[in-house]
Amino acid sequence: MVTIDIETDDGQREILRRMMLIRAFDNEAGDRFADGEIPGFVHLYIGEEAVGVGACSALEPDDYITSTHRGHGHCIAKGLETDKMMAELYGKREGYCNGKGGSMHIADVDAGMLGANGIVGAGPPLATGAALSAAQKGEDRVALAFFGDGAVAQGQVHEAINLASTWGLPAIFLVENNKFGEGTPVEKQHNLENLSETAEAYDIPGFTVNGMDVTAVYEAVEAARERAVNGDGPTFIEADTYRYRGHFEGDHQPYRDDDDIEAWQRRCPIDAFANRLVDAGVLTEDEVDELRAAAEAEIEDAAAFAENATDPDPSEAYEDMYDVSVPELSTYAGGSLRADGGSTTDQ
């Protein structure tokens, strides 16, 4: 059973809500980053919400996804909790990774979310592997890899798709074509009209869908999932979308004009879907506003939770490196380079 049934009113409401949650989360993350409360980098998903939500809603809860450096939307779409996500962005112990990962490494393996990923193109091989283990174990699970238009130029993406195609694995490769890899436009990364033409190199189905339309993404992934569990192998989907914010927060964006952004903002995936639901009588305008307000309130709570959460103790830096205990680490954690723990340092 799909995670969210788009045929039902409840399902549609939930899809809208999740998109709103992503928008609110990333607005908040942007603000808190600007305030200096969130360290490191953040890459926001604003404008691309229909892709993550459309895709993850059409998966089953046990299915796997791999994500990217721009992972907040994928996490929320997969059902992760916004307070633990925000706590992770803050580097707090209550975060998904106990503060060790941050924005670029949020993961919840038990929920099938195999991690945001700081390495462009690293997700697809992992997804191929998750699909392989599912197939070997005879489970009805699929693995979906999100990756960017820029990542299509990475060799390991090619290898992963070739493997999945050759082995007929239950995998879905979903390119979020948001028109840029950092500051470089997609035309300078590939000589292709549509990135979905890539599929031809593996003889698998390839489609380009409107990534600003959550229904279109949903349907494409639903069909791909069907093929995957039927043993018909992987599908390659390109979602045509756009990022509204800079590559990362702080990006001075010399590579595009405000006009371009505004044109795409008029195609806002959240507004478009909300309007459709209002037109169809599923929601009233007021209910839309309430949903948005509730999403924003949840995110405010998440931020408060994160703010009040605990800084990890420095000693935790030495934990989680290995399953077994390794003498080197216990020695260093004890403050010494000596095997006998002889002298001590403050590291």
Binding site: K137, G155, H158, A160, M321, A339
Partner: protein, 335 residues
């Protein structure tokens, strides 16, 4: 070879080659745990280019003895993904020189996933690969690169020198929930030794093994150079009493065992086939200096590859590859 002190949990032994020891370790673990599978280029029907997995396909399915396309980044990465989702892959990279192809998935995914995720995933993957010169395979098929993996945090690195160590450590690697790189020197596949037959025989990763006891000089060796050092020790036995240690595990490193030997002998040779600068030797020397400085009678000697690649021509290859004569010379310089 002197008796292996770490195999005492065993009823009987059998003589076998390193190749057979590795094959049997895989066979036993494949039989024991159905989450274990092997993948790599030509590991199935072909039996592996060094015949190590020969015969496994007959006993298990194509699904579990899985031939791959020539995509090390893709299938090693798939191994990482499979390991994160409940499988226990053994990934064969035919030559360690090809580890560069899959380095990204190794360094940023396999090695880091557990830590980045706050400890919330296991990474039970074993990577088997071949190292070493000596067969005229030239620079791209003869390298010894294990220092990279010993250095990079989040990985375990083992490099056995005997059949028993090969079997016991590979079984431990496969059972481990950490990523283990298992380095097979290709020149010792034919080397024989006694190996415990008990299918529960394993060896703990992180322990070095004293293969020969001695009083005057300690040789700390890895892989092929364990045998070469034993030969050197034997040859010199009239003049000098040489202790030979198989380091076995590069990370974690068994500081205790090597320091204990230093305390006894006061003189150490480190013999490993890595290029000398920034190689395994340096860490061993540094651990000894840090933990046994006042026992050192002289600076330790390093025996390794003199910072070159492995050249093709036999006369050149022989020049750069360390062997028993080099270990002997190093011992003589110290003794």
């Amino acid at each position: 070879m002197s008796t292996d002190t770490s195999t005492s949990n065993v009823s009987g032994t059998e003589s076998m080659t390193v190749r057979e020891a590795i094959r049997e370790a895989m066979r036993e673990e494949l039989a024991r745990d159905e989450d274990v599978f092997l993948m790599g280029e030509d590991v199935g029907l072909f039996g592996g280019v060094f015949d190590v997995s020969d015969g496994l396909l007959a006993d298990f399915s194509e699904d579990r003895i899985r031939d791959t396309p020539i995509s090390e980044a893709g299938f090693l990465g798939a191994g990482v993904g499979a390991a994160a989702t409940g499988s226990r892959p053994i990934v064969e990279i035919m030559f360690s020189d090809f580890l560069g192809v899959s380095m990204e998935q190794t360094m940023n995914q396999m090695a880091k996933m557990r830590y980045m995720f706050g400890g919330k995933t296991e990474m039970p993957i074993t990577i088997r690969t071949t190292e070493g010169g000596g067969m005229g395979a030239a620079s791209q098929h003869s390298g010894t690169v294990h220092t990279w993996f010993a250095h990079f945090p989040g990985l375990i690195a083992v490099a056995p020198g005997t059949p028993a160590a090969a079997k016991g450590l590979l079984k431990s690697a496969i059972r481990s929930n950490d990523p283990v790189f298992f380095f097979e020197n290709k020149m010792i596949y034919e080397q024989t030794g006694e190996v415990p037959t008990d299918p529960d025989f394993t060896l703990p990763i992180g322990e070095a093994s004293v293969e020969r006891t001695g009083e005057d000089v300690t040789v700390i060796a890895t892989q092929r150079l364990v045998g070469e050092s034993l030969d050197a020790a034997e040859e010199l036995s009239d003049q000098v009493s040489v202790e030979v240690i198989d380091l076995r595990s590069l990370y974690p490193l068994d500081t205790e065992t090597i320091v204990a030997s230093l305390e006894k002998t006061g003189r150490v040779v480190v013999a490993d086939e890595s290029p000398l600068s920034y190689g395994v030797h340096a860490e061993v020397v540094t651990r000894l200096v840090e933990n046994g400085f006042y026992s050192l009678d002289a600076p330790p000697e390093r025996v390794g590859v003199p910072d070159t690649h492995i050249p093709f021509s036999p006369s050149l290859e022989q020049e750069v590859l360390p062997d028993a004569a080099d270990v002997t010379a190093a011992i003589e310089r110290l003794a």
